[in-house]
């Protein structure tokens, strides 16, 4: 069954790597719903967060192809219940409209929106949340002359992840011994998608 998967990729910070990762999807005609690149908790290690709609079998294979890239340290994939995620959205609305209408104010409070800029001609609000939440506010604001809307890519944290510090140390060691090499998934046949 196709569902939303969030792929988290730890990489070196290398020019061209974005393309190398992106073409793994485009070559298979898979649409990337959302893609975010950012630093990670570790200096020099980059983190990609990629959202796609696919069946698990395909996602597993994609992760193996991603991990195969020389400058990729590790790729994980997770279903939505295994992660915490947020997307940030900005909404530009005419200031007179919202100043006049009490209803709008209630709406914004209900959605936890925050004003980023208030000008004579327009106001920009910001919310963070899941897609349905940010999308619902668009619908709600449309009658009041929503001028512009933009939403960021998903950023996600894996609930069960213990961070990447330990793993990185293993990757960095010059002569990795058996005990320190990242290998946990090889023990669990069902979850194998790494190495």
């Amino acid at each position: 069954m196709k569902q939303e998967y969030t792929i988290t990729v730890y990489t070196e910070n290398q020019i061209g790597l974005l393309n190398r990762i992106a073409i793994i999807f485009s070559r298979r005609k898979i649409n990337i719903e959302s893609l975010n690149t950012s630093p990670s908790e570790i200096d020099s290690v980059h983190r990609f967060t990629i959202v796609i709609n696919e069946v698990e079998e395909v996602v597993k294979k994609l992760c193996r192809q991603i991990e195969k890239q020389v400058e990729v340290l590790k790729a994980y994939y997770n279903t939505n219940d295994e992660i915490l995620w947020q997307e940030l959205a900005l909404y530009k609305v005419p200031t007179d409209e919202i100043a006049e209408k009490v209803k709008v104010e209630r709406l914004l409070r209900q959605y936890g929106a925050r004003a980023v800029v208030i000008r004579k001609d327009y106001t920009v609000f910001e919310t963070t949340g899941h897609r349905e939440e940010t999308e619902a506010l668009i619908k709600a604001l449309e009658p009041y002359g929503l001028i512009e809307f933009v939403r960021s890519a998903r950023v996600a944290i894996i609930k069960s992840s213990a961070g990447f510090h330990e793993k990185l140390r293993e990757f960095e060691s010059q002569q990795p011994g058996e005990e320190v090499i990242e290998n946990e998934f090889l023990n669990k046949r069902g979850e194998v998608f790494t190495m």
Binding site: T11, E12, I15, G16, N19, R20, I23, R27, K60, K61, R64, Q65, E67, K68, V70, E71, V72, L73, L168, F171, E172, Q174, Q175, E178, I181, N183, L186, N187, R189, V192, T194, M195
Partner: protein
């Protein structure tokens, strides 16, 4: 001491103190430190500083000037395939670099270790549509294992060390290093070349899991009809001896993919032949009858598996591969044996029981009998006047005794050569398997000869494919690679014609290719040659070709509309293989 150890010792000695050199010199020093003896290439504006430096290195590095960059990279591939070392090719920016793309793709899909070095415009011109500027990094990303652009010479020693390490380690592949002209010209303090042994984000081989080895051994020991299928992994892993010990102890029948060909000598009693679309009858049919399928260093290409949902469904599958992304990619493995087969095979051999499997092996032999009766004998001894490709290969076998390196192009002659050529030693079959690149054979044979100078190299090529890269005869003329060119001329783009005959109601659409007088052209390049029209002259002509001191072109006119059989039609299961 193995050559590898010798090489490592050699490259382990850094220069005492720093010297000021140019980026170009650093490139050449790196190649020498990596043990590279021969480079194939073609100069041009953006790589001129490297060629200028090469002028002073002529005694240390042999440079073979090819006639087209595609020829350069195919030659580097041939060199890598027969020598087991990394092949190196130089090209200039723009069209020089784009001409490498086919070869990079070929090397990528066939796991051939290549370091391609391209010149690039000055760094300050990047992105300005400068003369001969193309985005070589992004063009080659899908067809390289790794690529990198150098704009500062100080990076060069470390980057080249990394390039060689990545190209040859793990599952080998092509690496491209693009060097801007300013970096080639830039002087910097060179403190010595240090080989690379580790890249933190790169794990060339997965750690071997004992439990999977044990599980695999148990499956094998319980098997009544175990069947080994092997690919180039055995050759790339230099595991031929370990492989043989494994199959001999277990008494397994073993069949090969065309890239695995020559890893096990043809005459070995357990060598039951070729897999796939034009493979042998037994191995294809019995794939769907074995109870344990042991796949070693092969990737279940669709030309091998035929229809996947009807492929070996009855069997438990043990898959040995160094590349974890191959496991479960096409065929689900019951037991995955990650790792370098040079290490995993001995572990497995130790745990398996010595067995014969005589009856099971006999099944293969009886299929061979049937194939002999219906296909092979007719092919080898045609009753018609026209010669068959198979009888040419058979006559060649007799003369070479299976000791030659056979390089093939793509098409019917390739399938026939792989089916019938005999081999006594590994690294003897060079062909474009995954990409099926017509035009591969001639340049690859040139490279193969430099990779194995003491061996006879025969390039078997179709009349179509030869016309794709025949300009490389110029390279032979100038540098003297003693390549034996055997053209099997059926006056058709034979393989496409065969498909048109079988699947497009004989509508021969643009497959009747005309050829020039190949022998005259060869003569123009100073290469001796002749054409044989009748089988009476065949053996002598082949002998003359092999005995001739230097390169030779022999054109053999073969039947125009012969088909390669057996055949697994596309979309069919391997057990639906047709004998006629």
């Amino acid at each position: 001491m193995s050559t590898l150890e010798a090489l490592e010792q050699q490259i382990e000695t850094p220069v005492e103190k720093s010297i000021s050199i140019t980026g170009s010199e650093a490139v050449l020093k790196a190649l020498i430190a990596e043990g590279v003896k021969t480079v194939f290439g073609y100069p041009g504006g953006a790589i001129m500083p490297i060629y200028d430096a090469l002028y002073d290195y002529e005694d240390k590095l042999q440079h073979i000037l090819v006639r087209h960059e595609q020829g350069g990279i195919h030659a580097a591939q041939g060199y890598a395939r027969t020598s087991g070392n990394v092949g190196v090719v130089f090209a200039t920016s723009g069209p020089g670099a784009t001409n490498l793309v086919t070869g990079l793709a070929d090397a990528q899909i066939d796991s051939t270790p290549i370091v391609a070095i391209t010149g690039q415009v000055f760094a300050h011109l990047l992105g300005t549509d400068a003369f001969q500027e193309i985005d070589v990094i992004n063009i080659t990303t899908p067809v390289t294992k790794w690529n990198y652009q150098v704009t500062d010479a100080t990076e060069l020693p470390a980057i080249l060390a990394k390039a060689f390490y990545i190209a040859r380690s793990g599952r080998p592949g092509p690496v491209l290093i693009d060097i801007t002209k300013n970096a080639q010209l830039q002087k910097f303090d060179f403190t010595g070349y240090e080989p690379c042994h580790h890249v933190r984000s790169y794990r060339p081989k997965p750690i071997i899991r004992k439990e999977y080895i044990e599980e695999a051994a148990q499956l094998i020991n319980e098997a009544k009809k175990p069947f080994v299928i092997f690919g180039q992994g055995v050759i790339l892993g230099r595991a031929e001896a370990e492989f043989k010990a494994f199959i001999e102890k277990g008494g397994f029948p073993a069949a090969w993919t065309i890239l695995g060909l020559s890893a096990l000598e043809t005459d070995h009693p357990q060598n039951v032949g070729m897999l796939g679309m034009h493979g042998n009858y037994g191995p294809n049919v019995l794939t769907n009858e074995c109870d344990v399928l042991i796949a070693i260093g092969m990737r279940f290409d669709d030309r091998v598996t035929g229809r996947l949902d009807k492929y070996a469904k009855q069997a438990k599958v043990i898959h040995l591969d160094i590349d974890p992304a191959e496991i479960d990619k096409n065929v689900k493995a019951t037991v995955p044996v990650w790792g370098d087969c040079k290490e995993t095979l001995p572990l497995l051999t130790e745990l398996i029981t010595k067995k014969e499997h005589t009856d099971w092996l006999q099944r293969f032999y009886s299929f061979t009998e049937e194939e002999q009766a219906i296909v092979i004998r007719k092919e080898m001894h045609p009753t018609v006047e026209e010669m068959s490709m198979a009888e040419v290969i058979d006559a060649l076998n007799e003369l070479t005794k299976g000791d030659a390196v056979i390089v093939t192009d793509v098409g019917q002659h390739q399938m026939v050569a792989c089916r019938y050529a005999k081999f006594t030693q590994s690294k003897s079959n060079v062909t474009s398997g995954g990409l099926g690149t017509m035009g591969f054979a001639l340049p690859a044979a040139i490279g193969a000869k430099y990779g194995a100078p003491e061996r006879t190299v025969v390039a078997i090529i179709g009349d179509g494919g030869f016309q794709m890269t025949l300009q490389e005869m110029g390279t032979i003329m100038q540098f003297g690679a003693a390549v034996k060119i055997l053209i099997l001329n059926n006056n058709f783009l034979g393989m496409v014609r065969q498909w048109q005959e079988l699947f497009h109601s004989k509508r021969y659409s643009f497959v009747d290719i005309q050829s020039p007088n190949f022998v005259t052209i060869a003569k123009g390049y100073g290469i001796e040659g002749q054409t044989v029209h009748h089988r009476d002259g065949l053996k002598n002509a082949l002998k003359e070709m092999l005995d001739h001191d230097g390169a030779y072109l022999l054109e053999v006119m073969v039947g125009k509309e012969n088909n390669v059989f057996p055949m697994v039609p596309q979309g069919c299961s391997v057990s639906e293989i047709r004998l006629q």
